[in-house]
Amino acid sequence: MTIKNEAQVLTISDIPELTAVNAGAFREQVTSALRESPTVIEVELSRTRFLDSSGLGALFALYRSVGESGEATLRLVNPRPEVRQLLELTQMQQLFEIVQR
């Protein structure tokens, strides 16, 4: 996983999967990166082939922490069709701004 903070845009990318195995590490690393107060947070999901309920939980935790501060925009970028299906199945696509580039 790569986390990059440039010009107040926090980009989280290179996530091959987000599951029970790495969801905890994802949350920890993203939480510490949020201390730099970015205005835009983008989770790049084009490489994410597998997501489970723990991964969805990690994304939801990020949504809540961003929502509580109310100072940043959260986007999911380029999710693969199967990840999008899971977001739709759980109705979580209503929470996030999903961007295809």
Binding site: S53, P81, E82, R84, Q85, L86, E88, L89, T90, Q91
Partner: protein
Amino acid sequence: MKSVLICPATRRSVSHLAEAMPFATVPLLGECLITFWLGHLASLGARDVIVLVADRAELVRRAVGDGRRWGLRVEVVTVGSEPTVGEAAARCRPFGEPGWLPAPDDLVVMNHLPGCAALPLFESYAGWCAALQAWIPQALTPGRVRMRELHPGIWVGSGARVAPRAQLHAPCWIGDHVAIETDAVIGPGAILEDRVVVGEGARVVQSVIGPDTFVGRLTAVVESIAAGSLLINWRSESVLRVPDSFLLCSLGDMPSLVPQTHLAGAAGAFGRTVLRWLKRLRALFSRSNCAAGTKPSG
């Protein structure tokens, strides 16, 4: 009168539909493609039907039996690969003998439902769903007394249980022994095959849910085909194997769920518990009797 049915063997654009069984026996509004075709041929006056099968013939054989159900004599013949109509004609009717149903019902490739050639089943997942939706009124063949149209466009099977606050929007088909929990929204355009369980607050819209499938609480199955944990979006043709069973799964994978959601299942579980206790009591009695019998007499 005779006829030949050719079972589709492989159809790449909808290959996931035939993962567990051949296309001819995929559940379809409580029946399957081949049983609808046999009923149709019987209504046209056929008496002998030859079924040519290249894919998992034993499952086709099991579905049709000897054809007595339709008043037919059915012979299921295993072939190496799916024959064309010409090849089937050369094999089964080489000299154009009389006594066959008139074309096109003499040699049929089951690529569509009877009388619905304009709606091919196997060209795309969207086509499959559209054909099923169009077929709903015709699926109520005279022998199917258990399925009722409760409200225009809303068909409900026997043993189905719909919670009072669930919403049903026409058109929708709810198969036998389906359970729909409170606040669920079913339809428009929803087909729930037999023994589906839809959890509280879930939505099923423009979708087909295969038999014995659990749709979890608050989930949304929209423009999709779900069968067990397999989820196919028929618009995008994207395929997902849902990893978490509380979202979507086969009820065969989680047997404990059935007794919790069905009253009959709960009664069954209670009955099994009573029987277990009776067995234990009997064992205890027989042990004490044995002990009494082996007691030294003096």
